[in-house]
Subunit: 380 residues, 2 copies
């Protein structure tokens, strides 16, 4: 059995629908991948994730390596069995977490980048650890990932061009190592993607892509866009500097982007895969998404509101509970409150991606996008 | 439609099985009532509670009065609609919480008992409130309770006989007021129980019962047993001082007791109803119940244990997840961990009560009890 394939089914402009095949089943793209950082989408079971229509989950290499440990998970039969999730799993490289979680109490990342990897302190207990490109592949093999990411250097949002160039150089060198060890592994294994870095600089993005493409990765991830963060124009620039370089016959994965509006923009550029903690994180603060805009359930006006979050939604929350009830639960810190908003937002993301694919199929993605934007930007 | 009835189906010694009928359906007794303090069994939805076989939920008058407020719940259509729970609901009087939650930072309760009710400070913001017997009934009418409890005085575990006698006197006087206002209410309403106080003193228990019985309450609750707390012999003594007084044709409710071993003892004395936060509280600390004993999943020996909590359990947790996985989730503070243990423990309590009823039906309750005790006291 082939461990990975990708096929574009149809284009509308640069936007496209396609199918990815993995060792654990097929995925229709464009796809949103909910994040199960430590083996669970926060508050949710794998059974519930499946019921909501989740096609593929993302697991965090950094967190699972630290606890319970990738070797423990391997002994227990791998991450799929551990979580009781039979669908595909993508694991990240841990690079982003190594850099971002090491800088909690400091503006500068405390991770030490060396030629052969990165030294960092655990966010849990401060203990020292070292990730090399090889180590990160080994961990993901232990987890039994279907789509693996190589260790990369994630420059900060305000890095200089010199720093970004250095990040590109090391990311390329590490990918040579990642590919080498990946090819050596004999057991059934997932596919290895490459991560294109280079910030908003066209020349660096091109350099990064050319370095990586030599090794024929299964797909390309676009790095350093989510952490461009606050500035939308930077995000756009980074995306536009990268997408035209990428081959049409491989999936394109925009890491860390999950704001519906950003997803629409990226899909129209030709991106196929997304992940982000945003929909679940805002859910835990009481913000829920609908096709008519977003609601903050903490707002006092929902106190006596017997309507569901969204009349048109088929999720357990909307079929059974009112805004007033969920508002109350969040207000008194009852876990069920943030469970119900999380379930709703994940179901929204699934339905949102379903609608995007349906629109591309019918050649009316642009219309769908414009209509969606008109409504979604309102808060009500 | 009659708002309440009770029928004993069969006896085995003093133990008995029966059926309670309420405005929201029938309940087979002996029954365990999971506690949905603030409108949710902690971590769990009403849909899940139903799937687990829950027959009746308990809601806390004190908590719901403070937040979101009983008037808000009334405007939203009552507690059943608010929670989307179509089965029966019992609400407590709030008395126990008034006395116990007012003493958080002090050994003595800060609640001020007056002749016409009790003044207390909110555990949420320190604001002053007053519960009279009338007020407590009005709140429960607003909630739409099927089984209501009257305001009572709950003496502390180490109260003197004089203090307990005073508690009995006021509880009786307050019940006169509770009955008066209860009878005046014209709309469909749940039944009103009475609460027998009197500590471990036979004479005081008798006095309490005689005072209350005059008003012909729908059932009798046995108060002041759970807060006798640590001492099993005190619990036993209080129970044995009360049960022989109670009429056979009315349900008997032992408030705040949920330890399986205590339930067995009480069932053999003839108790029909139980509630307690114990099974859900210990679940959140990683302790789970099985018919072969209890497990603490925090124990390192479960790190590589791919077995479910209980091979013989049909709950979502046991059908899908391993001890090692749940242990990991609790270890890293993932909410799903305590959800899975809560689901299991509630399902255990339901199955435990099912087994008790089945045993009484077959006249082998004593045998069941002895076998259960042999195994349940082991930890493994």
């Amino acid at each position: 059995m082939k461990n990975f394939s990708f096929k574009v089914i149809k284009n509308e402009g640069n936007a496209r629908i396609g199918v990815i095949n993995t060792l654990h089943g097929a995925i229709e793209t464009p796809v949103f991948m909910p994040v199960a950082t430590r083996g669970s989408i926060k508050t949710m079971s794998s059974i519930e994730a499946k019921e909501l229509g989740t096609q593929i989950l993302l697991g965090n290499t950094y967190h699972l390596y630290l606890k319970p440990g990738d070797e423990i998970i391997a002994k227990l039969g791998g991450l799929h069995r551990f979580m009781n999730w039979t669908g595909p799993i993508l694991t990240d490289s841990g690079g982003y977490q190594v850099f971002s979680l090491s800088s909690v109490n400091s503006k500068k990342s405390l991770a030490k980048i060396k030629e052969d990897g990165v030294e960092f302190k655990s966010y849990l207990d401060g203990s020292k650890h070292f990730f090399s490109p090889q180590k990160v592949i080994e961990i993901q093999i232990n987890l039994g990932s279907d789509i693996m990411m190589p260790l990369d250097v994630c420059p900060s949002a305000n890095a200089s061009k010199f720093e970004i160039a250095e990040a590109v150089r090391l990311t390329s060198e590490w990918f040579v190592e990642s590919s080498k060890i990946y090819k050596k592994i004999k057991r059934p294994k997932g596919v290895l993607f490459a991560i294109v870095q280079g910030g908003t600089h066209k020349d660096l993005r091109k350099q990064s892509f050319l370095d990586l493409a030599k090794h024929n990765p299964g797909g390309f991830a676009i790095g350093g866009v989510a952490n461009a963060g606050e500035s939308k124009s930077k995000q756009q620039k980074a995306l536009q500097a990268t997408i035209p370089l990428l081959p049409k016959d491989k999936p394109r994965y925009l890491m860390g982007v999950g704001e519906p509006i950003d997803i629409l923009d990226a899909v129209s550029c030709g991106v196929d895969m997304f992940d982000c903690v945003l929909p679940t994180r805002v859910a835990r603060n009481g913000t829920v998404f609908t096709f008519n805009g977003r609601l903050n359930l903490n707002n006092a006006k929902y106190k006596l509101d017997n309507k569901p979050i969204d009349d048109n939604c088929d999720c357990v929350s909307c079929q059974n509970y009112s805004r007033a009830y969920i508002r109350h639960l969040i207000n008194v810190d009852e876990i069920l409150g943030i469970r119900l908003t999380t379930i709703h937002n994940i179901r929204f993301m699934i339905r949102f991606m379903d609608s995007i694919r349906a629109a591309i199929k019918k050649d009316n993605f642009d219309e769908f996008k414009n209509n969606f934007l008109l409504k979604f930007n309102q808060k009500f």
